[in-house]
Each structure stands twice: as C-alpha cells, then as structure tokens.
Symmetry: C2
Subunit: 663 residues, 2 copies
Amino acid sequence: MAFSLKRLLVGQPIATDRAHHQRLPKVIALAVFASDALSSTAYATEEILLALMLTVSFTAPETLQNLHTLLPVGLGIGALLVIVALSYRQTVYAYPQGGGAYLVAKENFGQQTGLVAAAALLIDYVLTVAVSVAAGVAALTSAFPHLQGHASSVIYLCLMFIALITLLNLRGMKESGTVFAIPTYGFLLSMVALLVYGFYRQQNGGLGDYSVLQHQQQAISNPAYQTHQLGFFMLLRAFASGCTALTGIEAISDGVPAFQPPESRNAAITLGWMATILVTLFLGITALAYMSNSQPIVALAEGTSQFAVEHNHIESTETLLSVLAHRTFDGTSAAWFYFVLQMFTTAILVLAANTAYADFPRLSMVLARDRYMPRQMANIGDRLAFNNGIIALALCSAVLIVIFRGSVTRIISLYALGVFLSFTLSQSGMVLHWRKLRPPNWKLNVAVNAIGATATFIVMCIILYTKFKGGAWMVAAAIPIIVMGLRKINAHYRSVAQQLSLENYRPMQGRRHFVFVLVPDIHRGVIAALQYARSISPDVQALHISIDQAREKRLREKWTLYSRGVPLEMLPSPYRSLVDPVVDHITQIQKEEPRSLITIVIPEFVPREWWAKLLHGHAGLLLALRLHEREGVVVTNVPYILKPLADAPGQEFAPEPQTTPSH
Amino acid sequence: MAFSLKRLLVGQPIATDRAHHQRLPKVIALAVFASDALSSTAYATEEILLALMLTVSFTAPETLQNLHTLLPVGLGIGALLVIVALSYRQTVYAYPQGGGAYLVAKENFGQQTGLVAAAALLIDYVLTVAVSVAAGVAALTSAFPHLQGHASSVIYLCLMFIALITLLNLRGMKESGTVFAIPTYGFLLSMVALLVYGFYRQQNGGLGDYSVLQHQQQAISNPAYQTHQLGFFMLLRAFASGCTALTGIEAISDGVPAFQPPESRNAAITLGWMATILVTLFLGITALAYMSNSQPIVALAEGTSQFAVEHNHIESTETLLSVLAHRTFDGTSAAWFYFVLQMFTTAILVLAANTAYADFPRLSMVLARDRYMPRQMANIGDRLAFNNGIIALALCSAVLIVIFRGSVTRIISLYALGVFLSFTLSQSGMVLHWRKLRPPNWKLNVAVNAIGATATFIVMCIILYTKFKGGAWMVAAAIPIIVMGLRKINAHYRSVAQQLSLENYRPMQGRRHFVFVLVPDIHRGVIAALQYARSISPDVQALHISIDQAREKRLREKWTLYSRGVPLEMLPSPYRSLVDPVVDHITQIQKEEPRSLITIVIPEFVPREWWAKLLHGHAGLLLALRLHEREGVVVTNVPYILKPLADAPGQEFAPEPQTTPSH
C-alpha cells in the first residue's frame, strides 16, 4: 500500500535509456535556474531598508532622513551584480560539464579548497530553500494578515511548501520545469506592471497614501528600538544585507549539462537574460521605494530584545513589495492587481527553492562520486532524480525553518556569507584556469575573473564583519566542521577500498564449517530449520537454552523421534538470557578452532499480521546484533510463514496446547 | 558501553536458583503492598471536599455551609473500607497462590469474565502509577509553590519520579522493599503526629489561622465557577470522589506468594494491619478537616471552562494536607515539622506507585502464561524481575501523565471505576467459590463476600453515574477494547500452535536447493561470500544487477579469475532498482520449480564505526524485508568485518581506487 501511494505521488518509474530526454530548453531553464536569483528582488531592497531604518529617528519617522543612502547602496549592489554575472559567463564556457564552485576550486586549487567551496555551497543551498520559502510565506501573510495569527502557523505553512517542492522534484526534472515556468514568468510580468504603473503614478502626483505612519508608531514604543548613528558600519551592514540580491546568480553555471545542446552557448544566453532582468527589477524596486519614500512595516512585539534589534533581527509584518503594490494599485481600477502580484511573488519565492533542489543533489552526487559523501547520494531514483539528495535537502531546510521559526530576516543573516565565499573561490580559481590554459584573449578573461574575485572577496569580508554576531558566526563555524566530515567519509571509503583490494589476497581454504540450530522447542518451524541446516552441512548440532525445566524435559523426550541424528546440546542459562549462552558457546568453538566458519540457524515465525510480529520474541534479532561484528560467524533466519488469523480456524478458549512455540 | 551502563543502574544479574530468597517479611511487605492504599489518605478527603466545594456559596465562603456533609460521607467510606477489607481477607486464605481478581473471576465465572477483570486491573495499575506520582508532585509543589511556575515543570517532575521507580523495580523486589520501608513508616508516623497534635490544638482553642480566604477569593472572580445546589447527585459525586481511599486495598491479596511462609497467614495479618491504619488515618484527616473548617486551596486560572468546573476538574494549588499541616504547626516550635510531613507525603505517594509495579508485571505474566498477552511478558529478567511488564507500565503511565498534564483531579476521575469493577467481579466470584467448595462455616464466608460484592457493585454504579462525563467514559470504553485485544492475541497463539503441531506432519523431502550470491563488484567481501555459498551448496549462481555499464564491464573481465567456476548472470535493471530484479528472478525460479528452496547470499560490509554504517547501502536489508514473507526463501548476509579507521593506514586524497565496493 505504501508502494502504490508512492507511485501515485511520484509517478511511474522512468527507464535509464530515457535519461537524455530530460534536457531543458532555454525558456524553461530560465524558469528553473533563475527563479532563485529573480525572486530575491522581492526581499533584497527590503533588507537594505530594514538595516537603514535602524538609523532613522523614529520620533519623526515621516522624514525618513537617512533613507537617501538607499539609492547609492542599491547602485553599488547593481554594479556588483553585473561584475559577478560577467565573471560567471566565463565559467559557463570554460566548464560545459557544469562548473560549480566545487569543481572549479578543486581543479585549480586542489581538493582541500574544493571541499571548502563544497561546504559553503551545501550550506548555501539549504539556506536558499529556507529563505525562499520563508519569504514566500511572508508575501502570503502580507496579503492575508490573519494568517499571522498564530506564531506556529507560519512554520506550518513553510513546511507545507517544502513538502510540495520536494514532491515535485521527486517526480523528476522535466515535469517540474513546466510547473515552474508559470510562476516565474507571471512574477516577471507582474513586477514589470508594478514598476511601469508605479513610476507613471510617481511622476503624476505621487503614489497613493498608505497608513504606514500609524503602524510604525508601534515600533517607537519599544524601548529596545533605539536610534543608531548612521555611521560607516551601519552603511556597510545595509550594503551587506542587500547583497542577498546576488544569491542564485551562479545557479546556471552549475547546471550547464541540463541545457539542450549546445549547452554552454544556451546557458550563457540564459545567464545574460537573467542578469539583465535581475538588475532591472532590483534597481527598479529600489528606485521606486526611494522616490516614493516607501518602507516595510515593522511592529516590534513586546519583549523583542535589544540584541534582536541591533543585529537586524527585526521582522517586517508587511513586506516592502506589498506596501509598494498597495500604494500603486489601491484606489485605482486595478486594485485587484495587488493580489495578483502577491500571489505570483509567493509562488516564485516558494519555487525559487527549486534552484537548490536542482543543485544540491547534483553537488552531492559529484561529492559521492569523489567518495566524500555517502555513496547513496549518487543513486539515481526510479524517476531519474537523485532522491536521497532531494530528501536530505528537504530535511535540513525544514530543521532550519523550525529553529528560526520561519523568520526571513533571521535566516538571511546566515545566508550571504557562504554564497560569497563560494563566489570568491570559484572566480579566483577561474583566474588560475585561464593562466594555465592561455586561450586567445586569456588576459581579458583573467582580468574579468580577477575583478569578480576581488569584488566578491571584499563583500565577503564586509558580510563577515557586519553580520558576525547576527548569525554569520554559525556559518563560519559550520564550514570547517562540514569539511572535516567530508574528509572523514573519504578516509573511510579509501580504507575500505584498500581492505577489499584483491592484491596479495589469498582466501583461507578448507575452513571447517560448524552449523548450529537453535531449538527452543519441537514443532514444524524447528523441523524446517533442522532440514535447512542439514541441507547446508553434514556437521550440524542443535542447541537448546535451558530456562524452563518442563520444556527441556518435553524436548528431550521428543527429540529422538524428529532429530534425524542431529545431536542436541543443552546450554544452561542461569541468568535466563537467550543470547549469552549461545555467544559463549561460539566463543568457545572459535577459541578451539580459530579458522572455523560458523553458521547459526534460527527458526523464525513470520506472521502475516503486523501486530502479531510483536507477539513473538526476537531472540534471533538480538543474537544477530550481538554476533554481527564477529569474524567468521553467519546468522541465518529460516522463516516459517504462518497463515493469517482468518485462514486458520480454531475454537477460542481451547485448552492450553501441548506443543508451544517459544522464544 | 550501553551494556555496562545497564549493569551500573540495574546491578549484576541474579541466578535463577536464588529466586526463593526474594520473599518479603511482613514489615517490609506492608511497606511494599500498602503504600498505595495508605498514601491515598493524602488525597481522598481532599477529593470529597473539592466536590462539595462546588456547592458552596462562594460569595460567603467563610461559612462553608455545605461542608457539614463531609463527616457522613467520610463515615460511609470508612464503613465500605472495612467491608471490602474483610472480604479480601477471605480471598487471601482461599487463594494462597495469589488471588487477583483475574484468577478469581476466571476460576468461578470462566475465562470471559476473567478477561474483563484483567482489563480493569491493567487500567487500574496504570492509573495508580499516574495518580500517585501526580499527587506526590502536588505535595511537593504545595510546599515549594515556585515549582509550579512553569506548566510543564510539573510534568517533568512526574516523569522523573516514574523513571526513578522504574529503575528501582528493574533492580529487583527485595532491594526495593528496603527502599520503600523508610518513606512508608515515615509517612505513617508523621500522619499520627499531625493528627495527635492537630486534635490537641483543635480542642484547646482551635487550629491556627491560615490565609485561606484571601486565596479562595480568586476563584470567585472566575465566571465559570457557579454554585451548584447541594442535591443528591452532588452528594453521590462527593462520595464517589472519596472512594479513591479504597484503591490499593486489594494489593495484598494479589501478592500472597511474595510473603514468607506461611504465606496466607502472614498476608492476612498484614492486610489487617493495613486496613486498621487506613481507616484510622482517613477518618482522622476527615474529622480534623471537618472540625477545623479546612479546605484545599483552589485558584481557577483565567480560561478554566465551565465543563472543567462542573466535572470536578478543578485543581488545588495547595493540598488539604498541606493546609492542615500549616494550620497545625505554623507558629509553634514544631513549624519545621510541616516540611517533614510534606517530604514523607511526597515520598510515600511517589513510591505508592510501587504497588502497581509489583502487580502489573505479575498479572501480565499470568496473562502471558495463559496466552492472552505477548509471551515476552512472562520472561524473567536477569535480576529476577519481569522487566517487560515493568517497562510497559512505565511507558503507559508516562503517556497518561503527559496527556493529563500531571493533574491529580483529572486522572482521578478515571481511577475508581476500574477498581470497583474488579472488586465486584472478584468478590462475587468468591461467593461462587465458597458455594462450590462448601468448607466448614461456608455460609458465613458467602455472607461476607456477598455483602462486599453488593456494596462494591452499588459504588461502581454510583461512580459510573456521577463521573461518566468527567472521564469514567474513557475507562468504560477502554475495557471492552482491551478485552478484544487480549482475545485477539490468544486467537493468534492458538492458531500458531495448531499450525506448528507435528500431528500428521510430513516434511517435504528432496527439495532442490538453489543458492544465489549477489556480486555488486569483485573484492574480498564478495570472494568471502562466494566461498560461503560454495560451502553450503554445489549449486551456486552469481547475480549482478546491471546499472553502471563501466562496472559491469570491469566485473566481466575479472570474473573468470576469481569465480572458481560459479556462473555469473547479469540481471538488467532498467529502473535502477537493486531489489526488484532479484525478486523477479526468484519469482521466476519458484514458478519453474515450486518445491525448491532458495538461499540468497549477500556480501555485507561491517564497519566498526557507527557512522560508517550509514555510508554503505542497505540493499541486503531491503531485500530481506521484501523476501521475508516468501515461503522457501532464506536471505543470508555474509559479513565482512572492516578494520576501524585508525588501524587502516592510507594516504588521504589518494587517486580514485580502481576496486570499489558497491550497493
């Protein structure tokens, strides 16, 4: 039944030879790989504002005095975005097999640096899922504030969305590509509509009024919300917050093999489209917010700590995008368009997580192939998806959502550090790549990647400096731990390969094979096990563990009738253990004949009903667990299949049967 | 390591032949078996008052107008107590092997009625643990009110105490007897001191004043707390609430075999002691509360529902005993004695649960011997205790504590019904017993038990009537469900015994034995498995599941070198499953040769490190699960023990090894 449920949800299996059908055309690939990057325009500007608002005098918030810095910060991020996109365009051509930061760093700096990049990427993918889903839910609750009512309802919504995306991905890539095209393009068009109409209204008398002030007043009453001086540090922090706009820009370079041939060219074109759209939307929203003096609405709950406020852990109860859309469309005949925008925003944000669902399993597979991750990560599921990677990603991001209670701003504090570390490693690796290969125009290539590497390295330092206490320390601590874990796994696999090597291997010959059958009683199940034991060796001994004297006597009396010459040995068990006497017996045999091979045959009842399995002891299982790490010992259960209860007639409350199964 | 932790907590194993040492002298037996009954004096009077208080006019609570009914209700319960004790005294003599309600009902009414009694008893034991522990924690939090601070801290305290008692019982009975003597006798002496000094002060100017009123005022403000008319129903409910004083009175009759010989006589004497002490303490506390106008302190939290109040689900924040002790000792030079009493009350209440820990496992063992419970319940642990029963009881009561959030009053609403059902069945069974055997004076015996049966039957009806909505319905529903479960288990065991019977059994002869070895690759682990397969049958075939073409090619090339003549078959797996092709292959073989016996040999790596187990696939386990219910199929794992990582040198970042383990 669990099996057919899986088929219903995930679909029929797809054969291996259909694998090449699962390539994406550019228009679909843009939706799949760019949803992360594009969707970040829904929160990047807001994060800058939330940082700048800490420096606003809240006694007169209507002046929004320090918000004039929004525009230069936004322009700086836009410039950074262009630099990084150009830098990655070169990676797409240099690594048509998929140039993730792991591969580029490994090839050019060596395995160690590659693992650092891999750790940063793995963290990054998990955070992408958590941030995107949380931001999607924030867009939803901005439109329907009553969804915020209960604190944990946000968490449930997030988890529900994660489950949905996981399912879509388990079904396989191509189908999910189609599913993701609609929200991505819907969001794109809605944003264009918002910007066009927003700027039009702004030029013709300004956007509509929206009761921002009245909401913001609540924040003032919280004593923790003190005004900071707008200093260099706060400006840097605002910049660092906005850099989340760049997350996801590398996705295409990781996924080149998923494009239709010619892969590199198609991927580069798609990357160009994506960067153009991204810069346009981000700068457009930033400019509109600046010109119309819009800001996200925050309401500090009683009990919000000074720490939370200082480290930018404040939450918006209504997103900037929602405020802008309200001010643009409310009171016009297109007021309904507010809901269209919010729905598409939610959709693209929730689905943005899909970028990570495409890349996390692929990176895990590459690491598993290099023996740095469990080999199961390289298994391809029956729908041609890397199921284990997909499930691992879903679990990790769900845990993050629960820990951080679905708060975008708190998760985002962890986000950008890993991203920019992998940017830096990848692009400085590209510099070495060009210097090594020296293709025509290699100096230009070096220059582009060097600029990219330098810029992203500086930004990484800014993020580490301004966000350390606010959460980046967790990522800084997690990266070396993950690298150590990956190395440990690799050491294990290498050790196994060495131990299993057939070089100089001379298998032991002529080992004596002892077979022991456990006979708790005498009945059909035991006879079947005895028969089996006799069929695998002429050298069989039956063992009975003496606990119940009456049963022992009964067994002795009947034994000769059914034993067919197999000798029966009674093992005393003064402490009533069913396992210890057998283990002791085997230890004794192994001491006497160290080269011997021992098989323990255990008769086992297999009832059909699940609950009936609880009604039989599991001495066999316990014994298998105890002897599992013994060299030269094999534990074999010989099942005796019981009929289901309904098929086996029998008068209830019959007198106690004479022949009783045991253990 | 888990093993030595168990030894440290539970102690060294005790041999079977030392079993007869574990008998209890009377003084210890009183502590072990009577702690439940005696400890109920700590809450029985309070429960009567909590019911009566619903009829008090709270606008003038100082008048306590309806509390004059406390004394007659108390006297009625005292009389009932004497009747039931006399009735059970006869059971002790009639059933020296232990006359639990199950046994008595089964012998005299038949198995069906016995099972009803057994179900009532099992519920009763679980509730005994829950109520006693919760009341013990209530005594503790009365003395240290700040422990009530957080709602779940009461639950944690309860669970901690359950864990403690469980551990003591897993260590074995005799030692726990000694542990329980101190609190039982300490409580007894403290109660005597309270009563003597309390009555002395009451006669000489009255007990001290204690700010009862001021606390009670809080209750008035809750609109749910309306005054009921003191009618017949409310009086009956007060009586029913007080009947919890009788719980545990049957414990000695269940446990006669634990007494030193002559068992019956010693048990009867101990029962006499217990009943005398019980009646004295209960009536003493009731009288003192009545004369001094004392009552437990309740504080209804905002949001307490009308239903909770009407069905007596109100909580005392300070127990009646605590109020009495404060009023008796405060302001005197013995003020410190308040804490002594509260400590001993906590101790005896928490340990009262031990009565159930002695009886629940014993009843489960009896039921298991009769094949109505899983046979594991009859296993005697290595300290001569019925470990599985002890653990089952601990888990069930812990679940109850969590569900009812450690509230005495709410759990008590479920409590008395099952107890009085088993009383009624047991004592009416005794009537039949005497009429059947007709010993000298049998008519007197019949009369005593008939009075007992009638009285307890009437009380049972009262409880069902007055407490039905308040919680007794759950017990009324649970009993038939449990009876059905017990019968289902019995039906299963009888069916198994029938299927395993050797009558008319002719085992299949000359079955052909096919042995298949799974070879994912070629390495030492596979060679070991091949050797094993060859040793158990000359008819061996190797199976490889083709997923990775490169690996398949490598295997083909190397096969002849190592195969020793075993043929290799490639099973295609278009959907990349490691399990399905093997299952299909076996299905095919079984279709062709239905009488064949099939062994599947799976090479398995066994790493020493727990985490390394996650790094190897578990195709063997999955296959075993899929084939477990197949007639004639045996799955055998041949382990290949890997060295721990530290012992296996190897240069890190070595080139990809050629020979790689798989699956």
